[in-house]
Protein backbone atom coordinates (compact mmCIF):
# COMPACT_ATOMS: atom_id res chain seq x y z
CA UNK A 1 0.00 0.00 0.00
CA UNK A 2 1.56 3.28 -1.06
CA UNK A 3 1.97 5.91 1.63
CA UNK A 4 0.05 8.52 -0.39
CA UNK A 5 -2.99 6.46 -1.20
CA UNK A 6 -3.05 4.55 2.03
CA UNK A 7 -5.41 5.47 4.77
CA UNK A 8 -3.19 4.02 7.46
CA UNK A 9 -0.16 6.02 8.30
CA UNK A 10 2.07 4.89 11.08
CA UNK A 11 2.03 7.05 14.15
CA UNK A 12 -0.46 7.64 16.89
CA UNK A 13 -1.28 11.25 16.04
CA UNK A 14 -4.16 12.36 13.90
CA UNK A 15 -6.10 10.19 11.49
CA UNK A 16 -8.79 7.95 12.64
CA UNK A 17 -8.69 4.40 11.30
CA UNK A 18 -10.39 3.93 7.98
CA UNK A 19 -13.79 2.33 8.08
CA UNK A 20 -12.48 -0.62 6.12
CA UNK A 21 -10.45 -1.46 9.19
CA UNK A 22 -13.55 -1.81 11.32
CA UNK A 23 -13.87 -5.57 10.65
CA UNK A 24 -10.31 -6.32 11.74
CA UNK A 25 -10.70 -4.07 14.78
CA UNK A 26 -13.96 -5.77 15.69
CA UNK A 27 -12.19 -9.10 15.47
CA UNK A 28 -9.41 -7.79 17.72
CA UNK A 29 -11.94 -6.72 20.36
CA UNK A 30 -13.74 -10.07 20.19
CA UNK A 31 -10.45 -11.90 20.52
CA UNK A 32 -9.39 -9.70 23.42
CA UNK A 33 -12.64 -10.39 25.27
CA UNK A 34 -12.23 -14.11 24.57
CA UNK A 35 -8.75 -14.10 26.05
CA UNK A 36 -9.94 -12.26 29.13
CA UNK A 37 -12.94 -14.57 29.31
CA UNK A 38 -15.25 -11.69 30.07
CA UNK A 39 -17.29 -8.97 28.39
CA UNK A 40 -17.34 -6.52 31.29
CA UNK A 41 -17.21 -2.82 30.30
CA UNK A 42 -13.60 -2.48 31.47
CA UNK A 43 -12.46 -5.35 29.28
CA UNK A 44 -14.41 -4.13 26.24
CA UNK A 45 -13.09 -0.58 26.55
CA UNK A 46 -9.57 -1.92 27.05
CA UNK A 47 -10.01 -4.05 23.93
CA UNK A 48 -11.20 -1.11 21.85
CA UNK A 49 -8.23 1.00 23.01
CA UNK A 50 -5.85 -1.86 22.25
CA UNK A 51 -7.36 -2.29 18.79
CA UNK A 52 -6.91 1.44 18.04
CA UNK A 53 -3.33 1.32 19.27
CA UNK A 54 -2.51 -1.78 17.21
CA UNK A 55 -4.03 -0.38 14.03
CA UNK A 56 -2.12 2.87 14.55
CA UNK A 57 1.23 1.29 15.35
CA UNK A 58 1.09 -1.70 12.99
CA UNK A 59 -0.93 -0.50 10.04
CA UNK A 60 -2.13 -3.37 7.90
CA UNK A 61 -2.83 -2.91 4.22
CA UNK A 62 -6.51 -2.11 3.92
CA UNK A 63 -8.28 -4.58 1.71
CA UNK A 64 -10.46 -3.08 -0.96
CA UNK A 65 -14.13 -3.91 -0.73
CA UNK A 66 -14.34 -7.60 -1.44
CA UNK A 67 -17.39 -9.37 -2.76
CA UNK A 68 -19.70 -10.31 0.03
CA UNK A 69 -18.90 -13.79 1.31
CA UNK A 70 -21.68 -16.28 0.91
CA UNK A 71 -22.87 -17.83 4.15
CA UNK A 72 -24.08 -20.99 2.47
CA UNK A 73 -20.80 -21.31 0.56
CA UNK A 74 -18.79 -20.78 3.74
CA UNK A 75 -20.74 -23.44 5.62
CA UNK A 76 -20.29 -25.83 2.71
CA UNK A 77 -16.56 -25.05 2.52
CA UNK A 78 -16.19 -25.58 6.27
CA UNK A 79 -17.94 -28.94 6.05
CA UNK A 80 -15.71 -30.03 3.16
CA UNK A 81 -12.57 -28.94 5.00
CA UNK A 82 -13.54 -30.78 8.17
CA UNK A 83 -14.40 -33.92 6.24
CA UNK A 84 -11.17 -33.70 4.21
CA UNK A 85 -9.13 -33.05 7.35
CA UNK A 86 -10.60 -36.21 8.87
CA UNK A 87 -9.86 -38.22 5.72
CA UNK A 88 -6.33 -36.91 5.33
CA UNK A 89 -5.52 -37.37 9.02
CA UNK A 90 -6.57 -40.99 8.92
CA UNK A 91 -4.68 -41.51 5.67
CA UNK A 92 -1.42 -40.04 6.94
CA UNK A 93 -1.81 -41.75 10.31
CA UNK A 94 -2.27 -45.04 8.49
CA UNK A 95 0.85 -44.45 6.36
CA UNK A 96 2.73 -43.71 9.57
CA UNK A 97 1.81 -46.86 11.45
CA UNK A 98 1.27 -49.47 8.73
CA UNK A 99 4.06 -51.90 8.12
CA UNK A 100 5.90 -51.57 4.85
CA UNK A 101 7.34 -48.69 2.92
CA UNK A 102 6.08 -45.12 2.85
CA UNK A 103 4.50 -44.10 -0.47
CA UNK A 104 6.49 -42.15 -3.02
CA UNK A 105 5.83 -38.47 -3.48
CA UNK A 106 6.00 -35.78 -6.12
CA UNK A 107 6.08 -32.00 -6.40
CA UNK A 108 3.36 -30.94 -8.79
CA UNK A 109 2.58 -27.56 -10.34
CA UNK A 110 -1.11 -26.69 -10.06
CA UNK A 111 -2.40 -23.51 -11.72
CA UNK A 112 -5.06 -21.47 -9.97
CA UNK A 113 -7.64 -19.45 -11.87
CA UNK A 114 -7.83 -16.55 -9.46
CA UNK A 115 -5.01 -14.03 -9.15
CA UNK A 116 -6.27 -12.46 -5.94
CA UNK A 117 -3.82 -12.66 -3.06
CA UNK A 118 -6.62 -13.38 -0.62
CA UNK A 119 -8.02 -16.23 -2.70
CA UNK A 120 -4.59 -17.75 -3.35
CA UNK A 121 -3.78 -17.59 0.36
CA UNK A 122 -7.08 -19.15 1.39
CA UNK A 123 -6.80 -21.93 -1.18
CA UNK A 124 -3.17 -22.68 -0.30
CA UNK A 125 -3.92 -22.78 3.40
CA UNK A 126 -6.82 -25.17 2.99
CA UNK A 127 -4.90 -27.42 0.60
CA UNK A 128 -2.34 -28.10 3.32
CA UNK A 129 -5.08 -29.60 5.44
CA UNK A 130 -6.68 -31.84 2.85
CA UNK A 131 -5.61 -35.26 1.67
CA UNK A 132 -2.29 -35.80 0.10
CA UNK A 133 -1.11 -32.25 -0.55
CA UNK A 134 1.28 -29.81 1.10
CA UNK A 135 2.15 -26.38 -0.30
CA UNK A 136 5.86 -26.09 -1.08
CA UNK A 137 5.97 -22.87 -3.06
CA UNK A 138 3.67 -20.28 -4.61
CA UNK A 139 4.34 -18.26 -7.74
CA UNK A 140 1.95 -15.35 -7.41
CA UNK A 141 2.33 -13.70 -10.86
CA UNK A 142 1.28 -16.87 -12.65
CA UNK A 143 -0.98 -18.03 -9.81
CA UNK A 144 0.71 -21.40 -9.57
CA UNK A 145 0.92 -23.55 -6.49
CA UNK A 146 3.69 -26.09 -6.13
CA UNK A 147 2.37 -28.93 -4.03
CA UNK A 148 4.05 -31.89 -2.46
CA UNK A 149 1.73 -34.82 -3.03
CA UNK A 150 1.69 -38.40 -1.85
CA UNK A 151 1.49 -40.84 -4.71
CA UNK A 152 -1.30 -43.20 -3.74
CA UNK A 153 -2.33 -44.33 -7.20
CA UNK A 154 -0.73 -44.43 -10.60
CA UNK A 155 2.47 -42.34 -10.58
CA UNK A 156 1.77 -41.25 -14.16
CA UNK A 157 -1.51 -39.63 -13.16
CA UNK A 158 -0.47 -37.93 -9.90
CA UNK A 159 -0.18 -34.52 -11.59
CA UNK A 160 -3.66 -34.65 -13.09
CA UNK A 161 -5.21 -35.95 -9.88
CA UNK A 162 -3.67 -33.15 -7.82
CA UNK A 163 -4.64 -30.48 -10.35
CA UNK A 164 -8.22 -31.76 -10.40
CA UNK A 165 -8.49 -31.66 -6.62
CA UNK A 166 -6.91 -28.18 -6.47
CA UNK A 167 -9.43 -26.98 -9.04
CA UNK A 168 -12.34 -28.36 -7.04
CA UNK A 169 -11.07 -26.84 -3.80
CA UNK A 170 -10.49 -23.45 -5.41
CA UNK A 171 -14.05 -23.51 -6.75
CA UNK A 172 -15.32 -24.10 -3.23
CA UNK A 173 -13.16 -21.31 -1.82
CA UNK A 174 -14.38 -18.90 -4.50
CA UNK A 175 -17.98 -19.96 -3.98
CA UNK A 176 -17.61 -19.16 -0.28
CA UNK A 177 -15.49 -16.00 -0.31
CA UNK A 178 -16.12 -14.44 -3.71
CA UNK A 179 -19.52 -15.66 -4.85
CA UNK A 180 -20.20 -14.82 -8.45
CA UNK A 181 -16.52 -15.11 -9.34
CA UNK A 182 -17.14 -18.37 -11.11
CA UNK A 183 -20.20 -17.10 -12.91
CA UNK A 184 -18.68 -13.77 -13.97
CA UNK A 185 -15.23 -15.15 -14.59
CA UNK A 186 -12.57 -14.86 -11.93
CA UNK A 187 -12.30 -11.11 -12.51
CA UNK A 188 -14.37 -10.48 -9.40
CA UNK A 189 -11.87 -12.31 -7.29
CA UNK A 190 -9.11 -10.24 -8.88
CA UNK A 191 -10.44 -7.03 -7.34
CA UNK A 192 -7.94 -7.17 -4.52
CA UNK A 193 -4.95 -7.29 -6.82
CA UNK A 194 -6.31 -4.65 -9.19
CA UNK A 195 -6.99 -2.22 -6.39
CA UNK A 196 -3.45 -2.57 -5.14
CA UNK A 197 -1.96 -1.30 -8.38
Amino acid sequence: MSPQGGTTRPGLRGRLPHRRQIPIMTWMVVFWCGLWGSVSPVVVVGGVLTAFALVAVFPMPTLPPAPRPSVLGAVRLGAYVLFDLLRSSLQVAWFAVRPGPVPASAIVAAPLRSRSDAMIAATAEILSLVPGTLVVDIDVPSGTLYLHALVTGDPERVGDDVRASVRRMEERVLAALAPGALRDGVAVADDVREAKR
Partner: protein, 135 residues
Amino acid sequence: MSAWDWVSAVLLLSGSLLALAAGIGMLRFPDLWMRMHAGTKPQVLGLLLVLAGVEVQLVPDASAVVALLFVGLFQLVTAPVASHLLARAGHRSGVVPRDQLVQDDLRVFELECAAGEHPESSPPQDPGPRAEGRG
Protein backbone atom coordinates in the same frame (compact mmCIF):
# COMPACT_ATOMS: atom_id res chain seq x y z
CA MET B 1 -19.79 -42.00 34.32
CA SER B 2 -22.37 -39.93 32.53
CA ALA B 3 -22.96 -40.06 28.80
CA TRP B 4 -20.99 -36.84 28.41
CA ASP B 5 -18.02 -38.39 30.18
CA TRP B 6 -18.07 -41.16 27.59
CA VAL B 7 -18.20 -38.67 24.73
CA SER B 8 -15.32 -36.83 26.29
CA ALA B 9 -13.32 -40.02 26.79
CA VAL B 10 -13.78 -41.10 23.18
CA LEU B 11 -12.75 -37.68 21.89
CA LEU B 12 -9.69 -37.47 24.14
CA LEU B 13 -8.54 -40.98 23.29
CA SER B 14 -9.03 -40.69 19.54
CA GLY B 15 -7.29 -37.30 19.57
CA SER B 16 -4.37 -38.74 21.49
CA LEU B 17 -4.13 -41.70 19.10
CA LEU B 18 -3.94 -39.35 16.13
CA ALA B 19 -1.24 -37.30 17.85
CA LEU B 20 0.63 -40.54 18.55
CA ALA B 21 0.35 -41.55 14.90
CA ALA B 22 1.66 -38.10 13.92
CA GLY B 23 4.62 -38.65 16.23
CA ILE B 24 5.32 -42.08 14.75
CA GLY B 25 5.10 -40.50 11.30
CA MET B 26 7.69 -37.90 12.33
CA LEU B 27 10.05 -40.75 13.19
CA ARG B 28 9.32 -43.08 10.31
CA PHE B 29 8.81 -40.78 7.34
CA PRO B 30 11.92 -40.40 5.22
CA ASP B 31 12.10 -36.67 4.49
CA LEU B 32 11.03 -33.22 5.61
CA TRP B 33 7.98 -33.03 3.35
CA MET B 34 6.52 -36.33 4.45
CA ARG B 35 7.07 -35.28 8.04
CA MET B 36 5.22 -32.05 7.39
CA HIS B 37 2.24 -34.08 6.21
CA ALA B 38 2.29 -35.79 9.60
CA GLY B 39 2.74 -32.47 11.39
CA THR B 40 -0.17 -30.72 9.68
CA LYS B 41 -2.92 -33.28 9.30
CA PRO B 42 -3.18 -35.91 12.06
CA GLN B 43 -1.59 -33.53 14.53
CA VAL B 44 -4.11 -30.74 13.91
CA LEU B 45 -7.11 -33.05 13.98
CA GLY B 46 -5.73 -34.79 17.08
CA LEU B 47 -5.45 -31.50 18.90
CA LEU B 48 -8.95 -30.46 17.79
CA LEU B 49 -10.39 -33.72 19.12
CA VAL B 50 -8.59 -33.34 22.46
CA LEU B 51 -9.87 -29.77 22.72
CA ALA B 52 -13.40 -30.97 21.93
CA GLY B 53 -13.09 -33.61 24.64
CA VAL B 54 -12.06 -30.97 27.16
CA GLU B 55 -14.78 -28.57 25.99
CA VAL B 56 -17.44 -31.19 26.72
CA GLN B 57 -16.31 -31.18 30.35
CA LEU B 58 -16.08 -27.39 30.58
CA VAL B 59 -19.35 -26.50 28.89
CA PRO B 60 -20.90 -24.39 31.69
CA ASP B 61 -17.76 -22.21 31.80
CA ALA B 62 -18.21 -20.09 28.68
CA SER B 63 -14.91 -18.22 29.02
CA ALA B 64 -12.87 -21.44 29.07
CA VAL B 65 -14.79 -22.79 26.08
CA VAL B 66 -14.12 -19.64 24.08
CA ALA B 67 -10.43 -19.72 24.98
CA LEU B 68 -10.16 -23.32 23.75
CA LEU B 69 -12.01 -22.42 20.55
CA PHE B 70 -9.33 -19.81 19.90
CA VAL B 71 -6.62 -22.42 20.46
CA GLY B 72 -8.22 -24.64 17.83
CA LEU B 73 -8.77 -21.79 15.40
CA PHE B 74 -5.18 -20.60 15.59
CA GLN B 75 -3.89 -24.11 15.18
CA LEU B 76 -5.94 -24.43 11.99
CA VAL B 77 -4.63 -21.12 10.69
CA THR B 78 -0.96 -21.38 11.67
CA ALA B 79 -0.10 -25.06 11.09
CA PRO B 80 -0.39 -24.86 7.28
CA VAL B 81 1.64 -21.64 7.19
CA ALA B 82 4.42 -23.06 9.32
CA SER B 83 4.59 -26.25 7.28
CA HIS B 84 4.58 -24.26 4.04
CA LEU B 85 7.55 -22.18 5.19
CA LEU B 86 9.52 -25.23 6.27
CA ALA B 87 8.67 -27.09 3.07
CA ARG B 88 9.74 -24.12 0.95
CA ALA B 89 12.96 -23.62 2.86
CA GLY B 90 13.66 -27.33 2.45
CA HIS B 91 13.26 -27.10 -1.30
CA ARG B 92 15.08 -23.82 -1.84
CA SER B 93 18.07 -24.71 0.29
CA GLY B 94 18.32 -28.01 -1.55
CA VAL B 95 19.12 -29.91 1.63
CA VAL B 96 16.13 -32.24 1.37
CA PRO B 97 17.04 -35.18 -0.86
CA ARG B 98 14.82 -35.39 -3.91
CA ASP B 99 15.43 -38.89 -5.11
CA GLN B 100 12.12 -40.04 -3.58
CA LEU B 101 10.19 -37.68 -5.84
CA VAL B 102 8.59 -39.20 -8.91
CA GLN B 103 8.41 -35.72 -10.42
CA ASP B 104 9.55 -32.24 -9.39
CA ASP B 105 7.76 -29.44 -11.24
CA LEU B 106 9.26 -26.84 -8.94
CA ARG B 107 12.78 -27.76 -10.02
CA VAL B 108 11.62 -27.40 -13.64
CA PHE B 109 10.27 -23.95 -12.78
CA GLU B 110 13.54 -22.95 -11.11
CA LEU B 111 15.50 -23.96 -14.18
CA GLU B 112 13.09 -22.05 -16.43
CA CYS B 113 13.48 -18.98 -14.21
CA ALA B 114 17.24 -19.30 -14.40
CA ALA B 115 16.89 -19.39 -18.19
CA GLY B 116 14.89 -16.14 -18.04
CA GLU B 117 11.57 -17.61 -19.16
CA HIS B 118 9.46 -16.00 -16.42
CA PRO B 119 10.48 -12.35 -16.19
CA GLU B 120 7.39 -11.50 -14.07
CA SER B 121 8.03 -14.09 -11.41
CA SER B 122 10.40 -13.58 -8.58
CA PRO B 123 12.52 -16.68 -9.03
CA PRO B 124 13.18 -19.03 -6.19
CA GLN B 125 16.77 -18.77 -5.10
CA ASP B 126 19.00 -21.03 -7.10
CA PRO B 127 20.09 -23.58 -4.55
CA GLY B 128 23.54 -23.61 -6.11
CA PRO B 129 25.99 -26.39 -6.57
CA ARG B 130 25.15 -27.95 -3.25
CA ALA B 131 21.83 -29.17 -4.56
CA GLU B 132 23.01 -30.14 -8.02
CA GLY B 133 24.47 -33.43 -6.98
CA ARG B 134 21.31 -34.39 -5.14
CA GLY B 135 18.56 -33.32 -7.54
